[in-house]
Amino acid sequence: MLNTDQHTYTAAIPTIDLAAPTKVETATFALG
């Protein structure tokens, strides 16, 4: 998860990252 509290970024964090939902599900695949 992106840690927005401790960043030392030189440019602004993209707003799409800040808007990311906190409740997500995970899927894992191997395509061969």
Binding site: A20, V24, E25, T28, F29, L31
Partner: protein, 186 residues
């Protein structure tokens, strides 16, 4: 899609690496918002993205669904049966070699494997590196995942129009991204 990561899972070796993979398999892990895309929709994309009738020839490159809970297990099994039972489908009555396996520890791949296409788009990649202080932040970033998809020809011009301002690029970076995406003509 909230984030994507590549890594190694399914084996017993502790802390595998690309050059010392042990009994693990190369995998893609996706965090997604189920109110936007469902697991069944992801499964449909997965089945259409590989040939499940191809016999597995190595642990490293086998095709598999690593299920994280019983619901995913049921959905994965149902979708696997469906593709070999669909009379008009490519895989009707064929043996399906793609496995369904309970998810276990997922080890992140080395940094250079993540957002591979983005890492090879120099101008945009330079901006991403400037935005994020450390690799784990761009590996976990939604913006970096979306950008990686766009530079690979996934996503449409109208989707890009809708979200380009949220991806964190400068005006020059946005211009470069438009140029790359227009090549795919979608």
């Amino acid at each position: 899609m909230v984030r994507t990561r590549v890594g190694y899972t399914g084996g017993k070796k502790l802390n595998p690496t690309y050059y010392s993979l042990g009994d693990h398999t190369e995998t893609l892990q996706i965090d997604y918002d189920p109110t936007v895309i469902t697991y069944d929709e992801l499964l449909a994309i997965f089945w259409s993205s590989h040939n499940p009738t191809r016999r597995t020839w190595s642990q490293q490159y086998k095709a598999a669904i690593f299920v994280h809970n019983e619901r995913q297990q049921r959905q994965a099994e149902r979708s696997k049966s469906a593709i070999s039972e669909e009379k008009t489908g490519r895989f009707f009555n064929r043996k399906i070699h793609t496995e369904i396996i309970p998810a276990s520890t997922f080890y992140l791949a080395e940094n250079y494997h993540h957002k591979y296409l983005l890492q090879h788009s120099p101008q945009i990649w330079a901006e991403i590196r400037e935005i994020y202080g450390k690799p784990s932040d761009w590996i976990n970033s939604t913006a970096a995942a979306r950008l990686n998809g766009y530079v690979g020809g996934y996503g449409t011009l109208s989707q890009l129009e809708e979200e380009i301002k949220a991806l964190g690029l400068s005006a020059a970076g946005q211009k470069q991204l438009w140029k790359l995406v227009r090549r795919f003509g979608k």
